[in-house]
Symmetry: C3
Subunit: 441 residues, 3 copies
Amino acid sequence: MLSIEDNHLLTRAGPATPMGQLVRRFWVPVLLSRELPEPDCPPKRLTVMGEDLLAFRDTDGRVGLIDPVCPHRGANLYYGRNEAHGIRCVFHGLKFDVHGACVDIPIAPPGTDRERLRIKAYPAREAGGLVWAYMGPEPVAPAPPALEFTLLPESHRYVSKKWQACNWVQCVEGALDTAHFSFLHMVIAEDEAKALAMLKHAAIGAQSVQNDRVRWVRDDPMPSFEVNPNDVGLTIGGARRADEDLYWRIAQFMVPNHALAPSAFPGELMHGQTWVPVSDDACWIYTYTWHPDRPLTEREREMCESGHTVHAKVDEHFRPLAGPHNDYMLDREEQKHRSFTGIAGVSEQDAAIQDSQGPIADRTRERLFSTDVGIVKYRRLMLGLAKELQEGREPAASRLGHRYALRSGGWVAQRGIPLETVMQERFGDPQGYVGRHYGLE
Amino acid sequence: MLSIEDNHLLTRAGPATPMGQLVRRFWVPVLLSRELPEPDCPPKRLTVMGEDLLAFRDTDGRVGLIDPVCPHRGANLYYGRNEAHGIRCVFHGLKFDVHGACVDIPIAPPGTDRERLRIKAYPAREAGGLVWAYMGPEPVAPAPPALEFTLLPESHRYVSKKWQACNWVQCVEGALDTAHFSFLHMVIAEDEAKALAMLKHAAIGAQSVQNDRVRWVRDDPMPSFEVNPNDVGLTIGGARRADEDLYWRIAQFMVPNHALAPSAFPGELMHGQTWVPVSDDACWIYTYTWHPDRPLTEREREMCESGHTVHAKVDEHFRPLAGPHNDYMLDREEQKHRSFTGIAGVSEQDAAIQDSQGPIADRTRERLFSTDVGIVKYRRLMLGLAKELQEGREPAASRLGHRYALRSGGWVAQRGIPLETVMQERFGDPQGYVGRHYGLE
Amino acid sequence: MLSIEDNHLLTRAGPATPMGQLVRRFWVPVLLSRELPEPDCPPKRLTVMGEDLLAFRDTDGRVGLIDPVCPHRGANLYYGRNEAHGIRCVFHGLKFDVHGACVDIPIAPPGTDRERLRIKAYPAREAGGLVWAYMGPEPVAPAPPALEFTLLPESHRYVSKKWQACNWVQCVEGALDTAHFSFLHMVIAEDEAKALAMLKHAAIGAQSVQNDRVRWVRDDPMPSFEVNPNDVGLTIGGARRADEDLYWRIAQFMVPNHALAPSAFPGELMHGQTWVPVSDDACWIYTYTWHPDRPLTEREREMCESGHTVHAKVDEHFRPLAGPHNDYMLDREEQKHRSFTGIAGVSEQDAAIQDSQGPIADRTRERLFSTDVGIVKYRRLMLGLAKELQEGREPAASRLGHRYALRSGGWVAQRGIPLETVMQERFGDPQGYVGRHYGLE
C-alpha cells in the first residue's frame, strides 16, 4: 500500500517528473530495428514518456531521433522526404540530419545562421534488434545495458513489441510477482497429461522436468520469497515445495525498466521484458526470447511469432489482437473447464489482469501479503532512486551497463539453502552475472 | 424554469449528491434477471449512479452485487471465475461470496484476518423479471415496491431495457408530460383509417374505441391537467374534449423513478417505465408491459420484442438500433407525409426528443405552459424530498412499498367531474390502488 | 513569431473573443446553397464559430438561420417539421419562422404573449452558390462582399466546401504563403514533360506558358515579396526569376477570411477560398473556381468535382477522403520518385501540412524568413483590427463590400517594376479591382 503521493511519484514518467528524470538517466528502447528496415526508408512517429518524436534511418543507416516540429513554421517533419543524409520538410524545404542540425535552407540566402534552426535530437543506437535512445540531460550518454540478448547474434534471439493500455509500473509489478503463476497462467484440465500439453505450448522449449513443475506451481500457491539486491536491481526468488526439496523460480529486475522471467531451467530458452511508457496510461512492452548457446529453431521462432506465449499476437501496428476492446477474447466455457482465465496466452492473460487494475493502479487501497515482498522492494528501490536523483545523487546503475548481463531461471535445491547459494548453484555466480562469458569486466 | 442550482440538484445522482442519496433510499433495477441466466454463469459489469459494480449469480442462484476491485492488488473481479458459491480473482485466487465476504485466500496462511478483505456488497433481490439493488446506507433495506407487474406470473408480463444517452430526469419528464401525444407520437395520414392502423400497431392490444381516441388526442392539443398527490407520488390526469365528454389520460409517478403510461382502457395492456441513472448523462430505461388478468398472447409478446412500440428495438447490448448515431433513422419523406416525426416507434420518438434536449436539459431557459403542470409538480416533489433528506427526514414512500401497486390508464367521463372521482370510476379507488387484489395491506 | 497572447488573440473566434467579434462584423458563408436544395426541404444543423445553429429553407425559398433550441422545453428544432412558412417543434408543436418569431403555439390559449418565445435568428442571404450569415451585433447588416464569383451567373463558377481539422488561421496563412509552391506542390519527375503533365492536371485550365512557370517556381524557391495594403486587405506579390524577367504570383487577402490564389494568367480560371471557423480547432473551407468571361466547360467542372485539385475529393458530409485518419493517403514510393509529398492533390497537400502544424499552430516557436512577410503583415493587420474593435473602432472594410471585387493571378514583368505597376499592367488597376465591370461604385 502506497500513499497517494508515492503512487503518483512511482508511476508518472513525463519529462518534468522525478521518475521521468530517473528513467531518462538510462537507455530505453523506442523501436524495433525492423521498423526502420533500410536506409532512407519512411520515418516513424513515436511517443516516449510523453514526448512526440520522429525516427528515421539515413542514407548511411544511422538512426535519427528528433523533435518532429520544423522550427520554421511548425510543420511536422513526419510528412518530410527522407533524402540523402537527412529529412527535408515538404512545406519549405528545410533539411535536418540525424543530429538535428539544419543542413539546408532553400528559402534563405547563403550564410544564414543555421544554429538557431537546430532541432532537439536524442542519441540513438541499435542493439539486440532494438533502437535505443538516451533522452537524459547529460552531454555523454551512459554505457548501454549489456542485457544478454543484446550480446548475441540475431539468430539466437527473437524480439517483439506490443502495446498495452495501462501504466507501465503495474506491468513491471506483474513480472516481478511470480506468485501469480499458480493462478493466472494455470490450467484446469481433466488429467495431468492434458494440462502439461497445454502449458508446454506456452513455455516454448521447456524440457521433461516441466511435468513436475506444473504440479509444484499448482500445489503450492504461497511461495516463500527471498529478495536480494544485485548491482543493477533486485534478484527475486520464490521457493515452492517440490516434494522433499524446494522449487525456486528466480526473476531479475534491472533498473529502471527491465525484468527477466523465472522459468528457464538450464538449457531452456530465456525470456525478458522491457517496459517503456508512452504516456502515463499506456506503454510499449518489448519482449525478448533468447538462447545463449545456439540459434533458435525454426519451430521456436514460429511459436514466438504466432503469439499466445510470452509474445502476444499483434496486428501490423503492434496492437494485441486480444485486448480490452474484445474482452481479451475471454471464453467463459474455457474458463469453467480448462484454463483459469479463459484467455489464451500468457502475454494476453497478463495484459487482461494488468489493464483491469485501471489506467493507473490505485495502490492506496491495496492489502498486501508476504508473497508481495518482491513488489514492495521494487517500489522502495525505485522511489528511493527517484528521490535521491531529486537531491542530486545520480543512480549508480547508469554507470554499470556491463552488469546488466544477468540470467534468471528455475532450479530445484535442497531446503534451507539461502538464495545467494541457490544462484551460485544455478548460474555459477551469486547474482546470476554472465558478463565474463562475453568478455565484459 | 429552474434555477441553475435546482437543475443541478434535480438531475445529479452520483454517490455524494442529495438526489443520489434520495434515490439510494429505494430499490432500483440494475439488470434484467435473464442477463444472469443460470447459477454460476458469467458475471456482468454494470454502472449504477456512477458506481462500478459486478453482478454474479452464485451456485444457489443468489445474485451478488459487489465492488469489482479485488482488495489485494486491485485486479478486476470481472475476469474472475464464478466458482462454487463465490467468485475467485484470477490474479492470486482470493474468493468472495455474494455478501462480499472473502471466503478463501490461497496466498496467505490459515488464520489470516479475512475481515479486512471484505468488499462492498449491496443487497440484491429479484422481482418482475428484474434484479433490484438497495444501495442505501441503512442496515435494513426498505420494503420493495409492489409494482403490479412484479406481483404477476411471468406469463402476464414482458420486460425490456434500453440504453439512453441523456440524463434520466428528462426521460421521466417525457413520460409525465402526456400533452406531447398530440404531436410527437401523432400520425398524419391521408385518411382516418390509415392513421388508425398506424397507431394501432404502436398501441399493442388497444381496442375498438381507439378510433375516437386518435381523433380526440389530435383535435385537442391543450389538455386540462389535474395533479393529485398519491401515497407514493403523483397522479397526473390530462383531460381532452371528447365530443360531449372528456377523454382522460391518467399517468402515475412513483417516487423516485417509476411512471405508468396513461393509455390503457379497461381490458387493455398496461405499460410502465423505470429510469436508472448510469452516469449523469446516460441511463437505463426498464419498460414493462403487463395484463393483470391473463397471459400475454404470442402476438403481443412478438410485438413487444420487435420494438418500435413502447419497447425499443435494441441490439445484444440493449443499445437501440435507432439512435443519435443514425439520427434515429429519421425519414424526412415519412415526416412530410405520414408521421409527425418521421421516426418509427413511440420509444424511438421519445428517445430522439429527450436526447435532443442535451446531455442534461438546461431548465434555466424554459418557458412553461399550463400543460406542463405535471412536470412542475414532479420537480417540486423530488426537490423537496431531496432537501428534506439532507435535513435528516427520510422519504415516507420508502416505507410504503405495498402502495406502489397502482394502475394508470384512460377513461371517458362527463365534464365537471374531479380527477379523484374519475379515478374511482375507472379503477375503483381514488388513487388507482389495486394492492387489495394481491392481498396487500 | 508571436507572443502567446497574440497567438491566442489571432486564432480564437468564439462568441466572446475579440477575433470572434471582428469576424462577426462581416458576412460569412455557412452552407452551400445546394445543401438546402428546395423550399421546405430538410433542415441542416451547423456550428459556426462555436455557435450551434439550424438552417432551413422555407416555403418561399427564404433561408432561416436560427438557434435550434425550442424555448418551451429545450427540444432541438432539428427534429422539427419544415412546414408552411416555418419550422414546427415535434415535441409540442410550437412553430417558428425564418426570423425566429413564434408563429403558432397549439398548447397555449389564443392571446398568449409570443414575444417571450422569440428565438435568436441571424440574417441570411445567398450569393455565389453560398448561404451567408451576418452574426454581428448591428441592427443592420453590412454590405455583402462583392467577391467576383458572387457577381457571375452560376454557369461561370464552381463552388465546393471541405472540412479541415485544424484552426482556420493556419489555413489562411497557407494560402497567403505562396513561397511553398516550390516545395509542397512540386513534382519530381524524370523528365520535364511528365512533370508538366502532372501539374497541369492540378491547375485546371492553365495554358501553354505553364511549361515555363513550373520551371521558374522550381528553380527559384526564394521569391522576393512585396506586400501592399488594398482597401479591404492586402495584395501579396511574390516575384521569382524568370530568365531575364520576373515571374510574379500575386495573391489577395480580404478581411477577415478570404484569399484569392496567385496562379491565373489572363484567360485562365481563377480560384479563391474562404475559411469559416467551426470551433477553434476545425473549420470549413469554401473553395470557388470561376471564369469572368465564359461558362466553365464540362471538362473543367468534372475536374473540380473529382477533387485532387484546389478542390478536395470529399464524401457526402464534405469530409475529405484523404485525411489524418489515413495519413492523407501518403504514398512513400510516390514521394521518393515523383511527387514532393507523395500526397495526391493540391488541396490534400495543403490539408496535410496545415493539420500537421497542430490543432492550433504554436506561433511562439517559429523562426520566420523574408519569404514569410505576407504572413507577418496579415497577422499584424488582423491583430490590429481586433484590438481596434475592442477600443470601439469598427473595421472600415465592413462598409466597403463593393471593394471585394478583386482579382489575383500571375504575370511576367520586367525587373525593377514595383508591385503596384505590375498590378496595373496585369489587371488594369493598381489593386486588381474589377468592380467597374459589374457596375459597382
